[in-house]
């Protein structure tokens, strides 16, 4: 009730046909000006979105992250579980262009390392062996994996040919596993849990928001109360409480879906409010009234007129909801109540960084956190751009 005054009012979707709409900003080229007059709604959105440079760049980053998530086995140079006790907490391998004699190489290369224990501190120390150069190569044969559960392969995007030399782009963890490969593998769960969670919240949001909007009156009032109630609860304790009840013997897949369900059970309210708000605003629009007066059926009005009008807003709202889910999963897994070993997500990887002594020794253990920040920022800016572009007829 009080939140109505919060923030700027939602822009009202205009149902004005494209031809009569005035162009918003000065147009860049003559061709675009010509296009503008005949452009469809989605083309107009694309023009508007393109002007938002940062959003465009972030859109590319988001796309890249999902491509990585799809091809983790191929992109990661190693099996994420391959242990190497001799390389515990090894610092990131340095990639060289200039060798020990001062010669420049166009192709980047690394040196092999040998480890020895310091007799005084008992810490492992790593020494580069500068006699042999190991060039970094594309498409290297390495650890074998099963791609998407369909076929076996051992091709990796990049790596070093010599199996005795290991490349630690982002260092190694306690058990000498390659952090880079682990982070790449974490991308799949961390990025997808956001998507799956948002789709699930969206379904709940649409159903509840739809019911609330369709029946109106008391039902609407009750639903709004429930939404307000859920929003007034501190979410993390609730998530923790629900996640703690998951049986310990469940498989990764079961836990994964249970966690998404838990996240969406609490996360759907924001989306439901967007859906309801858009639907209510649209109901008052002239073109809906016109359609109703000309005898269009209710279903047809919803499917042909209302849904296309708020689709773009919904997509923007969905995009902005994904980073929240990613943060939530990371937080839960970090606390040990979300996904657990042997699942790999950025939150699970961050568990290793809970101990102050290990981060002081190996700051690269915080790298999964950097990935979370990159993903969240990229999605936020991308979603922001989408939201601005969602209504190309505005002003």
């Amino acid at each position: 009730m009080l939140r109505r005054i919060l923030g700027r009012g939602q822009p009202v979707a205009a149902g004005v046909p494209a031809a009569t709409a005035e162009p918003t900003q000065p147009l860049e080229t003559e061709t675009e000006k010509h296009d503008y007059a005949v452009a469809s709604e989605w083309e107009l959105m694309w023009y508007k979105f393109k002007r938002h440079r940062l959003a465009l760049i972030c859109g590319v980053v988001v796309l890249l992250l999902y491509v990585v998530a799809a091809f983790v086995e191929f992109i990661a140079p190693y099996n994420p579980e391959a242990q190497n006790p001799a390389a515990a907490y090894q610092a990131p391998t340095r990639v060289h262009f200039v060798d020990a004699e001062g010669n420049f190489h166009l192709q980047p290369f690394v040196y092999g390392t040998t480890s020895q224990r310091n007799p005084d501190t008992f810490e492992l120390e790593f020494v580069e062996d500068t006699s042999v150069i190991h060039p970094l190569q594309l498409f290297v044969r390495g650890d074998s994996y099963r791609m998407w559960g369909l076929f076996d392969a051992n091709l990796h995007l990049f790596g070093v040919e010599d199996p005795n030399v290991r490349l630690y782009l982002l260092g190694a963890d306690r058990q000498g596993r390659d952090m880079f490969s682990r982070i790449v593998h974490g991308t799949r769960i961390s990025m997808s849990i956001g998507l799956v969670g948002v789709v699930m919240s969206f379904v709940i949001g649409i159903v509840v928001g739809g019911i609330s909007g369709y029946f109106g009156g008391t039902v609407d009032l009750v639903v709004q109360r429930i939404i307000e109630f859920i929003r007034s609860m501190p979410t993390i304790p609730l998530w923790l409480g629900l996640a703690a009840a998951l049986p310990a013997d469940w498989s990764i897949l079961q836990i994964y879906f249970a966690i998404t369900v838990i996240l969406s059970l609490i996360g759907w309210t924001g989306l439901a409010q967007v859906v309801r708000g858009r639907a209510l605003a649209l109901r008052e629009e002239d073109f809906i009234m016109a359609a109703r007066l000309s005898g269009t059926s209710r279903t047809r009005i919803i499917v042909r007129h209302m849904v296309p009008s708020f689709m773009s807003h919904i997509i923007a709202a969905l995009t902005l909801a994904v980073p929240e889910m990613i943060i939530a999963e990371t937080a839960l897994s970090f606390l040990g109540l979300g996904l657990r070993y042997p699942a790999i997500s950025w939150g699970v990887l961050l568990q290793e960084a809970q101990n102050l002594r290990s981060i002081a020794l190996a700051p690269w253990l915080l790298a999964p956190g950097a990935m979370v920040v990159i993903a969240v920022l990229a999605l936020n800016f991308f979603g922001d751009g989408l939201r601005d572009a969602a209504d190309p007829y505005k002003r």
């Binding site: 009080l2 939140r3 005054i5 919060l6 923030g7 700027r8 109360r225 109630f229 929003r231 007034s232 609860m233 501190p234 979410t235 993390i236 304790p237 609730l238 923790l240 409480g241 629900l242 703690a244 009840a245 049986p247 980073p323 943060i327 990371t330 937080a331 970090f334 606390l335 040990g336 109540l337 961050l350 960084a353 809970q354 102050l356 981060i359 002081a360 700051p363 915080l366 956190g369 979370v372 920040v373 969240v376 920022l377 936020n380 800016f381």
Partner: protein, 327 residues
């Protein structure tokens, strides 16, 4: 005004009822009842289980009876301040959570004040000097602030302070005051430690509120009343603060409704990272060891506190803005 306040208070009753049900459900979620867990703990500790005592407990908590009876027994004991027994700590829950609850409240309120104190001037500046380098700078910073989960910030801060300053930023008290009774020195010690977690917690809220304040003020600034005042020769600084800021301030107060749950929620995880003596770490261990009466009590109290905080903010808002109390 009085009528509005009563109305709001009455409206929170169903909310608190719903919270109690959610908490009760979470207590019931783990398989088995808490007594079986209790007996297992006792036996694994090599203690002899007294059957008479178990039966007495079983009767007291209504275990084995229908769920609604169990709920009624639980809620009626809770209402008189008996939150049950923590088998992990071997003490009544009410004894355990008092001071930790207080610390959670202090931390949340401190962060809330910090959120306001920082975002108000920056929000005004960003709106008045729209598109200035300063505005771009704060916009950029606030987007970054929104993107960084606060527990990560806490982690990085802790690592940075440990590696480069050689100090530990965890905790809310120095060692000698940790278990000391309350005194002026202890309060000062708390204040000296409080600001770091408070800032960590506040960052997200500050970033969000700067955006809201800026947007609201930008909506107000082109209004005719502003032009009128300016045309009459009012000084710009006085004008901005006296009229548009007051209107734009409204959402500021109403956002407590979501700032506060966010802060309480964030305080849980930040406390775990920074090892603060709040309810956060206790809730986590209670959930991990399925000490459900303790976990349920913390959950219930945190949520009720949030609702009360929101209630206070709504009343404040009505006091500030007559349009709300007459609507």
């Amino acid at each position: 005004m009085g009528r509005y306040i009563i109305q709001r208070i009455v409206l929170t009753i169903p909310t608190i009822f719903a919270i109690s049900i959610v908490s009760f459900v979470i207590i019931q979620l783990p398989p088995g009842d808490f007594l079986t867990a209790y007996i297992t703990t006792l036996e694994s500790g090599g203690q002899v289980v007294d059957q008479a005592q178990i039966d007495a407990l079983r009767n007291q908590y209504g275990l084995g009876e229908p769920v609604h009876i169990q709920y009624l027994k639980w809620i009626s004991r809770t209402l008189v301040g008996d939150f049950g027994y923590s088998f992990q700590w071997q003490r009544p829950v009410s004894e355990l959570i008092g001071e930790r609850m207080l610390m959670t409240i202090i931390l949340s309120v401190a962060s809330l004040l910090l959120v306001w104190a920082i975002s108000l001037p920056i929000g005004i500046y960003s709106a008045v000097k729209q598109y200035s380098p300063g505005d771009y700078f704060f916009t950029f910073i606030s987007f970054i602030g929104l993107g960084i989960p606060n527990f990560l910030l806490a982690l990085v801060l802790m690592w940075w302070a440990y590696s480069y300053l050689g100090m530990s930023v965890g905790g809310l008290f120095s060692q000698q005051y940790a278990d000391a009774p309350w005194s002026l020195a202890r309060v000062l010690d708390l204040l000296a430690h409080l600001w770091i977690p408070a800032i960590v917690l506040a960052v997200g809220g500050i970033a969000g509120l700067i955006r809201i304040m800026r947007a609201n003020l930008l909506d107000e600034l082109p209004r005719l009343y502003v032009t009128t005042a300016r045309a009459k020769g009012m000084k710009e600084g006085r004008l901005v603060l006296k009229y548009p800021v007051r209107v734009a301030l409204n959402p500021f107060v109403s956002t407590i409704g979501w700032t506060l749950p966010g802060l309480v929620s964030g305080s849980i995880i930040v406390s775990v990272v920074l090892n603060l003596p709040t309810t956060g770490p206790m809730l986590l261990t209670a959930l991990q060891s399925q000490d459900m009466y303790l976990a349920g009590a913390i959950l219930l109290l945190l949520s009720v506190l949030t609702v009360i905080g929101t209630l206070i903010s709504d009343i404040l808002l009505a006091w500030l803005d007559p349009r709300i109390r007459f609507n």
